[in-house]
Amino acid sequence: MSTASIQVGNKADVHYLLRLADACLILSQRLGEWCGHAPILEEDLALSNMALDLVGQARGLLTRAGQLDGQGHDEDQLAFLRDERQYFNPVLMELPNSASGNQQPGDFAFTQLRNFAVATWLQLLWHELQSSSDAEVAAIAAKAVKEARYQQQHAADWVVRLGDGTDESAAKMRAALAVLWPYFNELFADDAISAAAAAQGLGPQWSSLQPQWQAQMNEILAEAGLAHPKPSAYVPSGILGIHSEHMGHLLAEMQYLQRAYPGGKW
């Protein structure tokens, strides 16, 4: 593991796109862990399909970010040769698939609740990005918004089923909600980078998505009979490259082969 890591420049548009690209890529990696382990065959396929959608979205955005960065980094180099401090996904995406953090392959309630929250967020974000000043990004968004809409509906079904299911499934949903709730804050965090992106018409400030996200979230939580947690002041800082302890392990597994055999073709 001695391959030199790469660094991206500090252009605001590159960072803005990488935050979203990394969000898609890292959640895709987490969902990939479910393959062959889901409660039923059909859901196994559904989770894999979602992971594939997300990795497809990440690939388009990573390629575009690499072009804008102008250092000649392609999607593979950006995915496999950046250290965690150069990854800008919200911490929510990198959390293991369970509330306790160590359950393999994961907690289905936790996974579906996160999927629902993220798909709702992505669907709102892709919707706005369809009118991005960057034609490439707008094209990616036009395709992705349909995928996100489907994923949101699919995950919402499970949140309601489990939240309004048995005592045990409802308890698992409540536990998942309690753990995930503070991490949602980062999906609406703004700074100079998002302000610059909004100013040049690249994409919206994330905070502008919050009212609609909250409304859609509330609707499903109410339907699932889940009480709204108290607001949390905690805002994680994954979008600044400061991650949880889970991120390094995730990247070690994801990047191993490319680090061991750099430049290999596959």
């Binding site: 059909e42 396929l45 399909n49 489907y150 699919h154 079904d157």
Partner: protein, 104 residues
Amino acid sequence: MSEAPKTQPSSQNEWPLWEVFVRSKAGLDHKHCGSLHAPDAKMAVQMAREVYTRRQEGTSIWVVLSSQIVASDPGEKGMYFDPMEDKVYRHPTFYELPESVNHM
């Protein structure tokens, strides 16, 4: 009618079986493409979409509980179908269709 088979303990918690019919983008009718287990109709449609269509745009899906389907008896196949075989006049095979007419 023979006596209904006793329910296997392992199948007591199983979701019911659904048959899935899909109309592909350019197709004209719904074709049976398989079956799956699902707790209810809504979930059956969702799962059929994942398993059988890979979410192609413009695809229509029907699901129906397998228990709702009544099938002809294979033992009576001869009576039902064989008499058609040697009567060519029962089939409209002597018409020549213009090429522009599709899907007849």
